[in-house]
C-alpha cells in the first residue's frame, strides 16, 4: 500500500469530505437525542415492558365473538377502502382540470401557472392528518369530512404530478393542434389526454395506495372507517382484537399495493 500522499488530490478530498460529513452527522444526532431527552439504549434496557406488552397483551390476535362485532370491523374496512377510492378518484378528476392551468406549456394563461402550482404545493405540504384535524374542528367528525381531508391532500399532490407529466410531453404534438385551429378543450381532449393518460392513471393508482394508508390514520382522529373502530378497541384496552384489526389493515394495504403495482407495471409497457 503506497503512503497516503501518493493518492491523487481528488481521492484525498473525497475522503476528507466523507469524514467531515459523518463527523457532523454524529454530532447532530447526539444533539437531537439530547434534545428529545431519549436514550436510544433505553429501548433495550427497559425493553421488557415493551416486549411483554406486545407478546402478552397484543398476541394472539382475536376475532371478536360478540354478535355483530366482526361485521362492524369488516364494515369499517369497507368504509376505509371506499373512502380511499372515492377520494383518490374525485381528487384525480379535479386535479386533471386544475393541472391544465398549472403547466406553463399547456395553460391558456401561462402567467398564472406558477400561482396555481404554488397553491397546490402549499396545500400538499400540509399532511392529510393535519387537514383532518382542521376540518374536524370546523365541520365536526364523520366519514364525509375524512373524505374531504383525503381529497384535499391527494388533489394537491396529483396537481403537481399531473402538471409534471404534461411538462414532459413534447411540445411538438401540441403545436400541430394549435396550427390546425383547434380550441383549448380540443387540444386537451385530442393531444394531451391521449398522450398523458398512461402517466395520469399511474399517478392515480399511486395516490390510491397512499390514501388507503392515510384513510386508516385519518379515521383514527374522527374520519370513521376502520381507524375509528381500531381506536375504540385500543381505548377499551381490548388489545387482542385491536391486533386482529391491525393485521386486517396490513392485509388491505398489501392487497391494494400489490394490485396497483401490477396495474402500473402493465401500463408502463
Amino acid at each position: 500500500m503506497p503512503p497516503d500522499r501518493a493518492l491523487p488530490e481528488a481521492v484525498r478530498a473525497e475522503r476528507r469530505a466523507y469524514a467531515l460529513f459523518f463527523g457532523a452527522l454524529l454530532l447532530v444526532v447526539a444533539l437531537c437525542t439530547w434534545g428529545v431527552a431519549f436514550n436510544p439504549f433505553e429501548l433495550f434496557g427497559k425493553g421488557d415492558a415493551f416486549w411483554t406488552f406486545l407478546s402478552e397483551d397484543f398476541w394472539p390476535p382475536r376475532i371478536p365473538q360478540r354478535e355483530g362485532r366482526l361485521e362492524a370491523i369488516l364494515a369499517g374496512i369497507g368504509v376505509t377502502f371506499a373512502m380511499a377510492v372515492a377520494s383518490a378518484t374525485v381528487a384525480a378528476v379535479l386535479a386533471f382540470l386544475v393541472a391544465l392551468f398549472a403547466s406553463e406549456r399547456v395553460s391558456p394563461f401561462p402567467r398564472l401557472a406558477p400561482l396555481v402550482r404554488g397553491a397546490a404545493t402549499f396545500v400538499r405540504n400540509i399532511p392529510a392528518l393535519v387537514w383532518a384535524f382542521i376540518l374536524f374542528s370546523s365541520l365536526g367528525i364523520g366519514t364525509g369530512v375524512g373524505f374531504v381531508a383525503l381529497t384535499l391532500s391527494s388533489l394537491a399532490f396529483l396537481v403537481r404530478a399531473f402538471a409534471e407529466t404534461m411538462e414532459d410531453l413534447s411540445q411538438d404534438g401540441l403545436e400541430s393542434l394549435l396550427a390546425i385551429g383547434a380550441t383549448f378543450p380540443q387540444r386537451v381532449a385530442h393531444g394531451i389526454l391521449p398522450s398523458c393518460l398512461g402517466g395520469f392513471v399511474s399517478w392515480y393508482l399511486y395516490s390510491l395506495e397512499v390514501n388507503i394508508r392515510a384513510s386508516a390514520v385519518v379515521g383514527m382522529v374522527g374520519g370513521g372507517g376502520i381507524g375509528l373502530v381500531l381506536f375504540s378497541y385500543i381505548k377499551a384496552f381490548n388489545y387482542h382484537v385491536a391486533f386482529f384489526i391491525i393485521l386486517l389493515i396490513a392485509a388491505l394495504v398489501i392487497a391494494v399495493d400489490w394490485m396497483t403495482g401490477r396495474l402500473r407495471k402493465e401500463l408502463a409497457l
Partner: protein, 262 residues
C-alpha cells in the same frame, strides 16, 4: 391572380433582442411551390410560423386570404389557422393515437363544441381520410399507432392531416430534414402533386438546394433575417447562392439528391 399570402414589411424581433426577420415583403399566389432556403438561423422557421401566428410579428402585416393576421383573436384566428396546413420536421403527430385519428385531426378546426371535444367526425370526413391515407400508401397502417411508423410514413400522415384541413396554403418546415433520400423523394413528390391537384400554394423550408431546384416554381433566399433572393430556380446562380449562404459556404449537392432532380 390575387395573392393568397402577403408579407408587408414584416419584422420579428425576439425578446432577447435577436432580429429573426427584417422588413420582409413577399406575395405568394395559388399554384406556386415556393422553397425558402438559407443557412440555419436565417429566419426560415420564423417566417412560416408568422403565417398562422404561432409566432406573432413585431411589426408589418401578414395578410392571409385577405385578412391581417395581427388583428385576429379567438374564433377568427382559429378560422384563419384552418386555412393553413402545416407539415413539420418532427411530424408532430400524437403518437399514442392511430394513424386514422391523426389524419382526422385536420378536421378538428371545423368541428365545434361537444362534437369537437369528443371527436365525432362526420362520416364523409372519415371516408375521405381513409381514401386519402390509401392514396398515400398508408392503407394498411390506418389503425396502427402513429408512434410505430417509420419517419417517411409519419410524414405522410402529417401531410394527410394538413390536407384534411382543406387548406388554401401548405407550410412545410424542413419536411425532409429527418428522412432518408428515398422517403424524402416520396414526400416532395406528394407535396408537389397535392399542391398542383388542389391548386394550393405551398411554402417549403429546405436545406437541400437540389431538392429546392427540382420541385420549386420559385425560390426565396434568406440570410440573417433578410430577403436576399426571390426568383425562378433557373435564376439561382453562383452569385445568388453566395448572397444567401455567404461566399465559400454554399452547401454541396449530395449525389442522391441530385439523382431525383428530374
Amino acid at each position: 391572380m390575387q395573392p393568397i399570402l402577403s408579407f408587408r414589411n414584416v419584422s420579428k424581433r425576439y425578446a432577447n433582442g435577436a432580429h429573426a426577420l427584417e422588413d420582409i415583403t413577399l406575395d405568394i399566389r395559388p399554384g406556386e411551390f415556393v422553397s425558402v432556403i438559407g443557412p440555419s438561423g436565417s429566419g426560415k422557421s420564423t417566417l412560416l410560423r408568422l403565417v398562422n401566428r404561432l409566432i406573432p410579428a413585431t411589426s408589418g402585416h401578414v395578410i392571409l386570404d385577405g385578412r391581417d393576421m395581427a388583428r385576429l383573436r379567438g374564433a377568427d384566428l382559429r378560422a384563419q389557422r384552418r386555412k393553413v396546413g402545416m407539415v413539420f420536421q418532427n411530424y408532430n403527430l400524437v403518437h399514442r393515437l392511430s394513424v386514422f385519428q391523426n389524419a382526422l385531426h385536420g378536421r378538428l378546426g371545423h368541428l365545434g363544441g361537444l362534437r369537437g371535444l369528443l371527436g365525432l367526425y362526420a362520416e364523409a370526413d372519415k371516408r375521405r381520410a381513409f381514401d386519402l391515407l390509401v392514396s398515400l400508401g398508408l392503407g394498411a397502417f390506418c389503425y396502427a399507432r402513429a408512434g410505430e411508423l417509420s419517419g417517411g410514413q409519419k410524414q405522410r400522415v402529417g401531410i394527410a392531416r394538413a390536407i384534411m384541413q382543406d387548406p388554401k396554403i401548405l407550410l412545410c418546415d424542413e419536411p425532409i430534414a429527418s428522412l432518408d433520400p428515398a422517403s424524402a423523394k416520396t414526400i416532395m413528390e406528394t407535396l408537389r402533386d397535392e399542391t398542383r391537384r388542389r391548386n394550393l400554394a405551398c411554402v417549403v423550408n429546405l436545406h437541400q438546394l437540389d431538392v429546392a431546384r427540382a420541385y420549386s416554381t420559385r425560390i426565396v433566399g434568406l440570410r440573417q433575417g433578410r430577403l436576399v433572393f426571390d426568383g425562378a430556380p433557373d435564376a439561382l446562380d453562383a452569385a445568388a447562392l453566395a448572397r444567401i449562404y455567404g461566399p465559400g459556404h454554399v452547401p454541396a449537392a449530395a449525389p442522391e439528391e441530385a439523382a431525383h432532380a428530374s
